[in-house]
């Protein structure tokens, strides 16, 4: 198959270029396998990857205009030429490697840890299977960034709008029966930008390789806020 890959090395290149590669594609081959083959031909090609099974969240890239996790994306399904670029809207460090600092800062901004006010019990705190089930579809997020870097609101306001990943995380804690930080979490999300810049465009849902639904999470937070304000 025919691939076109974004190349940019600030040490040597004035401008980014697209480089063409032909790779023999076998049945069941994932996009990461293709990237590895390209790297074998040209070791200067840089991209992040590690687990190879969709759990570490390292290898998000943009293919033919949408974001994918390379290691669990079969190549056969793409239209040729397959155009591989770094995540949109992020500063490029080199080739497919982008600077994700803003994305991590947004995550950190929602206080992504369990807040408890009561002293902890000697054993585990109890949670019914139903209460625990509310966390399903939330706690599995691998922080790959496919969602936030496909969100137009995040492109325009990466410093103000928290973006789908961080908001999904905020809801993960709001939805946890053990968490006692609800009030302050909601207060912190108030204002025109952090949460309310989401225009329900749903790019994030489409992009999520783990089939999570940030838009729904954002909806839940909105409802909570409305309830609180009446």
């Amino acid at each position: 198959m025919h691939f076109e890959v974004y190349r940019y090395n600030p040490d040597t290149d004035a401008e980014p270029t697209m480089q063409a590669f032909d790779v023999e594609v076998e049945r069941g081959m994932m996009l990461r396998d293709v990237l590895l083959q390209i790297k074998e031909k040209d070791e200067s090609f840089a991209f992040r990857h590690s687990c190879g099974e969709g759990v570490c969240g390292s290898d998000g890239v943009n293919v033919n205009g949408s974001n994918h996790l390379a290691c669990i994306t079969p190549v056969a399904e793409f239209r040729e030429p397959v155009v591989i670029r770094p995540f949109p809207g992020r500063p490029v460090i080199r080739d497919l490697v982008v600077d994700m600092s803003d994305f991590y800062a947004q995550y950190q901004a929602v206080d992504p840890w369990l807040k408890r006010k009561d002293p902890v019990p000697e054993q585990e705190s109890l949670q019914t299977p139903e209460q625990r089930a509310r966390l399903d579809g939330l706690w599995e997020c691998i922080m790959c960034g496919c969602c936030s870097t496909s969100c137009p609101s995040f492109w325009w306001n990466p410093d103000k709008f928290l973006g789908p990943q961080a908001l999904l995380t905020a809801w993960r804690f709001l939805a946890d029966s053990r968490d006692q930080g609800g009030e302050e979490r909601l207060d912190a999300l108030d204002g025109p930008y952090k949460l309310f810049r989401c225009h329900t465009i749903m790019n994030c849902v489409e992009a999520c390789p783990k089939h999570l639904n940030p838009t729904e999470a954002i909806g839940h937070i909105r409802n909570l806020m409305l309830k609180k304000s009446v």
């Binding site: 090395n9 600030p10 040490d11 040597t12 069941g28 790297k39 074998e40 070791e43 200067s44 840089a46 991209f47 992040r48 990857h49 590690s50 687990c51 190879g52 099974e53 969709g54 759990v55 570490c56 969240g57 390292s58 669990i72 079969p74 460090i93 080199r94 080739d95 490697v97 994700m100 991590y104 950190q108 206080d111 992504p112 840890w113 369990l114 408890r116 902890v120 000697e122 054993q123 585990e124 705190s125 109890l126 949670q127 019914t128 299977p129 209460q131 625990r132 966390l135 706690w139 599995e140 691998i142 922080m143 946890d176 053990r178």
Partner: protein
Amino acid sequence: MTLIRKNFDVLIIGAGGAGLNAAVQLAGADLRVAVVSKVFPTRSHTVAAQGGVNAALGNVDEDKWHWHMFDTVKGSDYLGDQDAIEFMCREAIPTVYELEHNGVPFSRLDNGRIYQRPFGGQSRHFGKEQATRTCAAADRTGHAILHTLYQQNLKARSHFFTEYFAIDLLQDQEGGVTGALVMDISSGEPMVLNARATLLATGGCGQVFRTTSNAHINTGDGMAMALRAGVPLQDMEFFQFHPTGVAGRGMLITEASRGEGGYLINKEGERFMERYAPSAKDLASRDVVARAIVTEVREGRGCGPNGDHVLLKVDHLGEETVARRLPGIRETSKIFVGIDPAFEPIPVYPTAHYVMGGIPSDRFGRVVAPARHGPEEVVPGLYAAGECACVSVHGANRLGGNSLLDILVFGRLSGLDILDYLEEHPRHGQTDSASEEKAMARFQRFDREGDGIPVAELRAELQKVMEDHAGVFRTEEIMQEGLDRMRSIRDRLDEVRLKDRSRTFNTARVEAFELENLVDVGLSIVTSALHRQESRGAHSRPDFPERDDRNWMRHSLYFLEDDRLDYKPVRTRPLSVDSFPPKERVY
């Protein structure tokens, strides 16, 4: 180039479960702590752990840490140190509660308590009925734990050096550790991080084998750094092959699939584990099941057109159980095999999974090596925890669910012991200039110009040699050939050249450093394996089929210098209970 230098009280190399749990302990103290990781913390391979973590909570059936201890000693084939094992099994209980309090989204039982599932090698009443001891968050327990620990570190405002690659340890004239030389991957610049105490928590080395459940980053860096600092590696011949990797690809299908009631069949549809382990069957210890699968395939009872794997059935459990308890392996099977295990069996074959050996440490995480006064002298300033360390709680074979436990318990203890150590050592050590020069020379090694062997080529050769010559069954002849080939690879390392010598995010350079580490670690495995003339746990020798307690109930220690081996006794005395004397190991 002026070398940047920074001073910290503590340097933690590795942000997996071990490193992060150590960092959490230090957060409350008024200390400068640096956590270095070559990947963003949540990308560490702890994230991939599936099945769960063992603790005798007794949420499902009555359970006792003492039974857990017995299983671990027996599982280790009596090579584990019983003081450390007792300690770990006792600490397991508060450790899991602490995880829960910190937010880990464990699955739950109807009464609201933490969900526990049966796992291999786990029993009640010292070897009688199956225990239900493995605490789980669906089949994504490692993800749940690693993300929670990262979150706790954010809360504690730990100082991360993310995407920094540790090159080598730095030492004073007496060999005490004073910090490390690291490289900022994104700029390619070196940096010296001085610290009063340094913890190696760099994880495993599964990338020495071709077919592995381990990530690209699991290259044994910390182990090789220890070797180059003159510290030996302990029990490296003991490498666990997990029985159920996806055939031909290596990614893991968790033991939880058998814990939840799945079983293995050969091409005749026979549930063959009944022959190898009449009472525990498919939940026998991992070494036993892996050997059984390889034997079935070798004797012509393998499945598929090439007869090269067996099948794992979970389809009889019903779609709902598979969806609720095993969603991760369902997804993996769909993506990589194109089947839905709720309706079809999964093709599986053993895959390189876990290194029982590692940097010798005691139960406080202190690195210990032979010196003037005995085989277990503390190396000043150096700690090790997690898969890169060898405490030794796993001995010759690790039980499923005991590694997450190991990294958490001993990560935590290292953190706590470092607090004491710092009280007694208020000042930074003086790095010996020779040590820094040596580290810098290594850092510059791949700046050399000209044509040579590409990194990828030598790495592929190494992985193949290790797979063929240090796999599930090992004979003298096979291993001797493996050793010769590994030595030839080591010689050729000098001819490796990079085509790309640029600075910014040069992954080729990182992989070259990793290759060097893999070579040292690979040599420690084959060398130790060749010399151990017995079969024990994961080390299985058709030419020495019996366990030999008289001559071999001892730990091996491999030194890089001259590929030398030394041995030290197993610690058979627990802390408070009676010792479990060696017995024949049947399941």
